[in-house]
């Protein structure tokens, strides 16, 4: 059971990749993945893959990410995936059925039919390595596509586990894993796919989009950005602190694309807001956060160094925290205050346990201006009980999604589409949107003879 741990770290040979893509394309052309029965069979097999290997998954995840809480792995990496699969199985016949177009016409009968995109490529990130690869894969299977899955080599143990398990459960004529880094990904990107589903950062997102453009391949890009939180002049600051602290520090140590990055608040309330944050951090993680079981660690040395750098670059603005421990890959929950657009921390996505506070003169007009100036974020939170204020934020700015009076994103709500806009991505998925993501909705007209 644990033998994979001792497997030598070998990537999929680049020379094999072309053949793997061609094999998938041939399987698709043969129509292997088209029947509902086949799709449900494969989806059930994927469920079994998770159900029968929970222990191995937990071990691999904790090896990849120190101190990652077991319930977090069980719920986000396993249960959420299984839920998605169940949803797809339950609704598959509905999704696959032709949809009659309501308007009658003398021309004949019209139908909209979901057709699989074809041979797809799924590239995943390291922060939720199983969920962000298996949920898209489930969508690909449900839609009748074939898929090459390229999990992140940074989450090496999970990636190797997947490479070993997938062929044991799924039809390897149609679903394959490529384990590898830059060279292997580049080789994959040279091939023609019918869809590329990528989750990761905007910089690599651009590389993917450029490679896809050569073949006119559509992409679903789930990227990131600097997610803003807007706090109006009247809302209870403790309420704000509660969910912002949870999302910025507790979940995966802030290494989540939907976590709040910077908070916009009136100058006159900045002090009180920071106090509320400090109180909440103290309550949650105790006197010494490094000992708290609720705080996990940074992904690896590289990311720890990146965040240490952020702390150093913004040293004069750090008002809380700032501690770090290189051997433990630990960064203390920190707050940077009095920031503006020129502050170094505002340049890139932090993706770690450092929150920025940006004070402004007029919360409504200045917040709108700042958010409009920066690239469109994945997620935005607005704290206010004033409907007009909320409406102004919703209509004058854009983001992948928006929450009101919580920093918790919508993406866990069943039925909500999850995706970015502008720099934070294109396309969306979850539940029926995952099926749609891997499908082409084709209009078919049966003309009157």
């Amino acid at each position: 059971v644990l033998s994979y741990l001792t497997m030598s770290s070998s990537y999929t040979p680049v020379s094999l990749i072309s053949r793997m893509v061609r094999s998938n394309a041939e399987s698709f052309a043969k129509g292997l993945t088209l029947s509902a029965q086949y799709r449900i069979e494969q989806l059930n097999a994927l469920k079994l893959l998770i159900a029968e290997n929970i222990e191995s998954i937990v071990i691999a995840e904790q090896q990849d990410m120190l101190k990652r809480a077991r319930p977090e792995i069980e719920i986000i990496e396993c249960q959420m995936v299984t839920q998605e699969i169940d949803q797809l199985i339950k609704n598959l016949h509905n999704y696959m059925a032709p949809q009659s177009v309501a308007e009658a016409s003398v021309m004949g009968k019209g139908e909209l039919l979901y057709c699989p995109r074809g041979n797809t490529l799924i590239i995943g990130p390291w922060n939720f390595p199983l969920n962000l690869v298996l949920v898209p894969l489930a969508g690909a299977i449900a839609a009748g596509c074939t898929a090459i899955v390229k999990p992140s080599e940074v989450s090496e143990n999970v990636s190797r586990l997947l490479e070993k398990l997938l062929p044991l459960y799924l039809d390897s004529r149609c679903y394959k894993v490529v384990h590898g880094g830059v060279a292997e990904t580049s080789a994959l990107l040279k091939e023609k796919f019918d869809l590329i589903f990528f989750t990761g950062g905007p910089a690599v997102g651009k590389i993917i989009a450029t490679a896809a453009a050569k073949h006119l391949t559509p992409c679903i890009l789930e990227l990131g950005g600097k997610n803003p939180v807007v706090v109006d002049d009247f809302i209870d600051l403790d309420k704000v602190a509660k969910t912002v602290v949870q999302e910025r520090y507790a979940l995966n140590c802030g290494q989540v694309c939907a976590a709040p990055e910077y908070v916009l608040v009136s100058e006159k309330r900045q002090g009180a807001l920071i106090d509320a944050f400090k109180r909440e951090i103290g309550e949650k993680f105790g006197k010494n956060p490094q000992e708290s079981p609720l705080l996990c660690r940074l992904k690896n040395k590289k990311h720890w160094e990146r965040l240490k750098n952020v702390l150093d670059e913004n040293k004069q603005f750090v008002v809380y925290g700032g501690g770090s421990d290189a051997d433990d890959l630990y960064i203390e929950p920190s707050i940077v205050a009095n920031a503006d657009l020129s502050t170094p921390i505002m340049k890139d996505e932090v993706f770690g346990p450092i929150l920025t506070v940006v004070p402004v003169k007029d919360i409504e007009s200045d917040a709108i201006k700042i958010i409009q100036t920066l690239p469109k974020p994945l997620f935005m939170a607005v704290f206010s009980e004033d409907d007009k204020f909320v409406n102004a934020m919703v209509t004058r700015t854009d983001s992948g999604g928006l929450s009101v009076n919580t920093a918790s994103s919508h993406f866990v709500v069943p039925g909500f589409p999850f995706g970015g806009t502008g720099n934070s991505g294109m396309g969306r998925y979850h539940h029926k949107y995952t099926f749609e993501a891997f499908s082409h909705q084709k209009p078919v007209l049966y003309a009157k003879i």
């Binding site: 052309a29 129509g31 088209l34 069980e74 719920i75 249960q79 169940d86 339950k90 177009v101 309501a102 308007e103 021309m107 019209g110 039919l113 057709c115 995109r117 074809g118 019918d194 905007p202 997102g205 651009k206 989009a209 896809a212 453009a213 050569k214 006119l216 391949t217 559509p218 509660k242 949870q246 507790a250 949650k284 079981p293 609720l294 209509t395 004058r396 854009d398 999604g401 928006l402 929450s403 009101v404 009076n405 919580t406 919508h410 709500v413 039925g415 589409p417 999850f418 806009t421 502008g422 991505g425 294109m426 909705q441 084709k442 209009p443 078919v444 007209l445 049966y446 009157k448 003879i449």
Partner: protein, 505 residues
Amino acid sequence: MAKALQGYTQLSEIPKLISKTRTTFLSGVTLPESYRRAQLQQLYQLLVENESDIIQAIQSDMKGRPSNEIAVTEISAVKSEVAHLLNHLSEYMKPKKMPSSAVFLTDSGEIRYTPLGNILLISPWNFPFQLTFNPLAGAIAAGCTVIIKPSEVCSHTSQLMARLVPRYLDENAFAVVLGGVDETTLLLRNKFDLIFFTGGCNVGKIVAKAAAEHLTPCVLELGGKNPVIVDDDCDFEMAAKRIVWGRWCLNAGQICLAPEYVIVNRKSQARLLAALQTTITKYFGDNPQLSDQYARVINQRHFQRLSTVLKQNARHIALGGTTDARENYIAPTVLSNVSMDSPVMQDEVFGPILSIFPVDNVRNDAIPIIQSRPKPLALYIFTNDKTFADTVVSHTDAGGVTINDVVSHFMFPGFPFGGTGHSGMGKYHGWYSFAAFSHEKPVLNKYPGADSSYEMRMPPLTDFKVKMAKLFTEEKPKKWKLPFSVGPWTAAALAGGAFLLKARL
């Protein structure tokens, strides 16, 4: 010098125009329904008040194109789209409520439609008014601002657009840029929130690459070689009539939806040719060059291109084949016995030349042929056998499919229009136009004072909390199958109601 004569926008002006429309968008002035309605009404007036000028301009660019055809496809069709958007604008703009699960009883969710922002709209020369103003109407309805770049190939039409748009629409929000390759290249270097491009695959790739640099989404309405399958079990005369209409009656075949090659049984090829010839003669007379129903190729460059196609495939010419360079005239032409390696099968013809691709058995051979080629914009099947049609539809992909006709799915009310794979990405028309230029943003509203349900997922994640989470959010496969689906609360209510009823009885 030549550029100024053609009225091209100065390169130095272009960034200023982009900045102007972008600033207008960020100011929020295009957001209210009243603004969008007013602009759409102005657009409608533009079409009503300038119909004859528009027809004249299009005919100056496309000689021989019948006025009546232009009146239907370039004026009436656009007025119809604008009217549709006006009639449905409130409905389309309305937020859509999302269902919520048990854990989130205390919340509400909805989808809000946010305009994508500042749009670049690039349109082609073949149906210039339709392919510019239809997308423009969608962008206006969605609340976007637009830089319009019509084709320099139809110069009279584009210059007319440049004169009319500022007269009717808000100059700060909608601007026309005239130009060629240099101007388009400069436009593409700038950042937009969406690029809407209609044209050929090659330029489509250039647009996609430029957009990728800014992570800008695109709607690409491209083309390809649209196949027609003619099954033996069909009405050959009817099929011939409709194929002729699709390939030659609309703009001498210069339309992305026209049938390009016909897959037919070898033994039926002659019969099909005869039926095509009869119909061509019926519609265009013995000498189509004299008919007022038959258009010309748009310009010398395309005429040369198509003449080359004829030369390269000379031994396949079965019908037509005559040309007249003085008029850019190419007769309705049919090539027979075409095969996969025939030169004509390389690129989209986009002209009045149809290919016949005979096979041994249509039922076996059509699907692999179509699968081996890039995905087309349209697929057409003539057959009385619905099972065969459905098999083709489920084993191949195309932007859209019409069975027993050609082109029609383009106009079918409620249908999206767009390609797939090499024939494009994205779609529009009606509701889909509004959606193409909008971002469907999910908004989660948490009601105040409902913290306890949130405590359920805050750390520490105790076993009890995990148990509760599974109870409330984990879906389980049903043990029985009902003909309808009932949520847990509805079931509880029904059960409670049934119990009360029983108690009363």
